[in-house]
């Protein structure tokens, strides 16, 4: 006895919950948003200081290179954690209302995604001051953003299921994220990674998204068509996998909440 949900209901629910999540994340105010920006900006400030003045990094646009990396990584961190909590965090609702639960996880992630847009505006302001030329090439960043969203949603869906059974998954994921921060080319460019290891680096889809975003928006590094398609493809794959895992285990997890 599974009732299918009407598509327009699904969409309405998704939009309303996304908006509510966004609102709560940013405490419903402009100042709230400024606070949330503080964390990535502080990290950026420290790293920029260390790399420019201590390690004497002189690459052109290093500032933008670093900022974009941190903004995208910060989204990845926040959204996967938000997605992980999308299921257990709404346990009251799940146990009392019959609704498509996948929406709860997707809306949690989408709330963070709206935050990313604001952060990208901040990045754009930095970029203008730093004298980056506007170029048609930049439009290719949009599919990458979509890929990032799909990737994060796929991961978030799987995590949201795991965390029901394994409540300390949050701590485990924190360790992953910490390792990920250093194993992903965020503060260093892909070109600094030895040729032999680059293949391994690209197994991490975030690495590709970061590297190509930097090329498209800042003009540092390069891009291959195969690599670009690979990044989009793998993200879609992770998303589909996440949906499949969620659908498979959803009913069982509802009883375990």
């Amino acid at each position: 006895m599974t009732t299918t949900f009407d598509k327009s209901y699904f969409l309405r629910l998704f939009l309303t919950l996304t908006w509510a999540n966004f609102k709560m994340r940013y405490y419903g105010s402009i100042l709230g948003y400024v606070w949330s920006l503080l964390k990535p900006l502080a990290l950026f400030g420290v790293l920029y200081f260390v790399y420019s003045f201590v390690f004497k990094q002189t690459a052109p646009h290093y500032k933008l290179f670093l900022l974009l990396g941190i903004i995208l990584w910060d989204f990845f961190t926040q959204a996967t954690v938000a997605g992980m909590n999308g299921f257990i965090g709404n346990y009251q609702m799940i146990r009392k209302v019959y609704l498509p639960r996948i929406v709860l996880v997707m809306a949690a992630i989408s709330g963070s995604f709206i935050g990313l847009f604001f952060n990208l505006i901040v990045f754009a302001i930095f970029a203008i001051f730093d004298g980056v030329d506007i170029h048609w090439r930049m439009l290719w960043f949009i599919p990458l953003l979509a890929a990032l969203y799909l990737l994060v949603t796929g991961i978030g869906l799987v995590l949201s299921i795991i965390v029901v059974k394994v409540r300390d998954m949050l701590s485990v994921w924190d360790v992953f994220l910490q390792l990920g921060f250093w194993l992903t080319p965020i503060i260093y460019p892909m070109s600094m990674v030895p040729e032999k290891l680059r293949f391994l680096m690209f197994l991490n889809p975030i690495a590709g998204i970061l590297t190509y975003s930097r090329y498209l928006l800042v003009g540092i590094g390069g891009l291959t068509k195969v690599g670009y398609c690979y990044v989009l493809g793998i993200s879609l794959l992770v998303f589909l996998l996440g949906v499949a895992v969620f659908k498979w285990k959803e009913a069982e997890m509802v009883e375990d909440l």
Binding site: M1, T3, T16, M93, K96, V97, Y98, L99, M169, V172
Partner: protein, 245 residues
Amino acid sequence: MQPAITVKNLSKTFRLPAERRGTLRERLMKVHRRNDKMPKRTLDNISFEIQQGEFFGIIGRNGSGKSTLLKILAGIYQPDKGSHIEIHGRIAPMLELGVGFNPELTGRENVYLSATILGLTRVEIDARYDEIIRFAELENFMELQVKHYSSGMAVRLAFAVAMQVDAPIMLLDEVLAVGDFVFQEKCFAYFEECKRKGKTLILVTHNPEAMMRFGDRALMIHESKVEIVGLPQEVLKVYQQAQKA
């Protein structure tokens, strides 16, 4: 006329581990010890029918399985294999008042959130918004966060929103357990209206008054099984005897 809900041989078994190992740490530390799952039958071979337009009460002691039954009807839990449930007409998705309310959001935002979960569109909510707040008597508090509401205010708002649902079948779990006398009277007035509109209402309650006044028929669950289905007075009699025993 076909029945609104037909339930045949409905069973529900939860598989509960002997010991809860909720964290990775616990799992790793006890990986060498077995953790058998014990089946627990919460509902055992339940069968009944609810006619369209009927006001159907479900009673039973705590832990007898009545809320599980309601959750299965709503689609929240999946029944065991071999169970047979047929439902004609849309069921309102909510079992309790105020679910989906978020204390951090304002009253106004919660109305939109909650009503959306219940299936209303934005246009519909816009049109009924004034009516909702008038009914809840919260005209001056809609921009206040719900966490600053008294529990009575929150319940009034939740009820005002829930009343807007226009599904032919309503499932209500212990709605009368919250709120004061005035609130109960409002609930009763709402039940009257539902009856007039010909809605099917299924109510889990401990409140004998509501059952006697509105119930067409009632079902008592005792230790996971159907004890009796019949007229409210008969069912209540059995229920009260069981209470004493």
